[in-house]
């Protein structure tokens, strides 16, 4: 019938059009583009993990160095891997209380150093001193009145340190290097 033959003709036309599409070229180009995206993602991962990365830090524990509402900082990944973190560095580390959380604190003592700290700054001047064991570091927030740090959870293993914060990128008013100011007792 007329309808049947028109449908058949349409199908044949469609098959011809599909056949004339250069599939091999398209698939080659798709593979090429995907490979490019994969290469870019791998490059980004390597730079992010081994060279430098950005982080958003928030919270009151590093006032006045870091803002309460959030600063974006550049974190150098080389120093921590090479073991050359120094006293006075602001570092990012995995929290020993929750491995899914990354906290920012200042290193106040390396292995072998004697650290003296105020037990409770809200309640007077009592202080304690201890020696940091081998392989550990002592970290404290700059705002000792509102910071959960080594004074509560003790010295942390060096292996928890993810990187050293060295430059503030945002907000623009705070643009600049992050200092090595060491707050002593």
């Amino acid at each position: 019938m007329a309808v049947g033959s028109r449908a058949a003709a349409w199908l044949a036309g469609a098959a011809r059009r599909i056949g004339s599409v250069p599939w091999r070229n398209i698939s080659a180009e798709a593979v090429d583009r995907t490979l490019l995206v994969v290469k870019a993602a791998c490059f980004a991962h390597v730079i992010n993990s081994y060279v430098v990365s950005l982080a958003l830090v928030r919270g009151p524990s590093m006032l006045p160095t870091m803002n309460l509402t959030g600063d974006i900082i550049a974190v150098d990944r080389v120093t921590a891997r090479w073991g050359t973190v120094a006293v006075g560095d602001v570092v990012l580390l995995r929290s020993p209380e929750n491995p899914r959380k990354t906290v920012t604190k200042r290193v106040l003592g390396l292995e072998g150093d004697a650290v003296t700290y105020l037990v409770d700054p809200h309640k007077g001047d009592a202080s304690k001193t201890l020696v940091v064991p081998k392989g550990y570091v002592w970290v404290q927030g700059d705002n000792i009145y509102d910071s959960r740090d080594s004074r509560q959870f003790g010295p942390v293993p060096y292996g928890l340190i993810q990187g050293r914060a060295f430059y503030r990128v945002w907000p623009p008013e705070g643009f600049g290097f992050i200092g090595q100011k060491v707050t002593s007792l």
């Binding site: 993602a41 791998c42 991962h45 390597v46 209380e97 929750n98 491995p99 392989g135 292996g159 928890l160």
Partner: protein, 170 residues
């Protein structure tokens, strides 16, 4: 020049391969040889001097567990040691945060603090583990061992095993 161009091409391909290899090894799965005898008989490690170090078991380590840090009792994990961040140990996870564990060879019972875990080697006679350095923060864990992939006669899955009567969740 012909050779200059093909050398450059070779360098580019090697670099791309290395980049992809490093990313896969850091994020998904990696392989590592075992040294020492602290996990005998689960793994047969090689000796630590050079020619011997080629004979140890090679294990497959997965990194997916690091997204949520969810581990089970009896998992074999690799972690950075608390005393030396450049060294990686492989041990079995015995207790998770909140568990009460009986420290062997002493009658003390201790509770694993939040965010920490207790690890022990399968061969207690020759294993430096939590019995010496205490519970370790979970943040030090670098992966979970799922299979042994070398030598061929020892290929197989690494099972979860727990020593009985050591821990209590209450």
């Amino acid at each position: 020049m012909g050779t200059g161009n093909s050398l450059w091409l070779l360098t580019k391909k090697t670099l791309t391969g290395a980049l992809i290899g490093v990313t896969i090894s850091d994020r998904y799965v990696t392989a590592s040889p075992v040294r020492g005898s602290s996990m005998h008989p689960t793994f047969t490690g090689s000796s630590t001097s050079f020619p011997g170090s080629l004979k140890g078991d090679v294990i497959l380590v997965e990194r997916f567990c690091l997204q949520k840090y969810k581990f089970s009792h009896g998992d074999v994990i690799i972690f950075r040691t608390p005393t030396n961040q450049k060294q990686l140990f492989v041990k079995r996870l015995i207790a998770l945060p909140g568990d009460w564990i009986q420290v062997p060879e002493s009658s003390e019972i201790l509770q694993i603090p939040e965010g920490h875990c207790w690890v022990e080697g399968d061969n207690p006679a020759s294993s430096l583990d939590s019995r010496s350095f205490g519970p370790i923060p979970l943040g030090l864990v670098q992966g979970r061992v799922t299979h042994v992939i070398w030598p061929p006669q020892r290929i197989g899955q690494v099972e979860r095993k727990m020593p009985t009567g050591r821990i209590s969740p209450y």
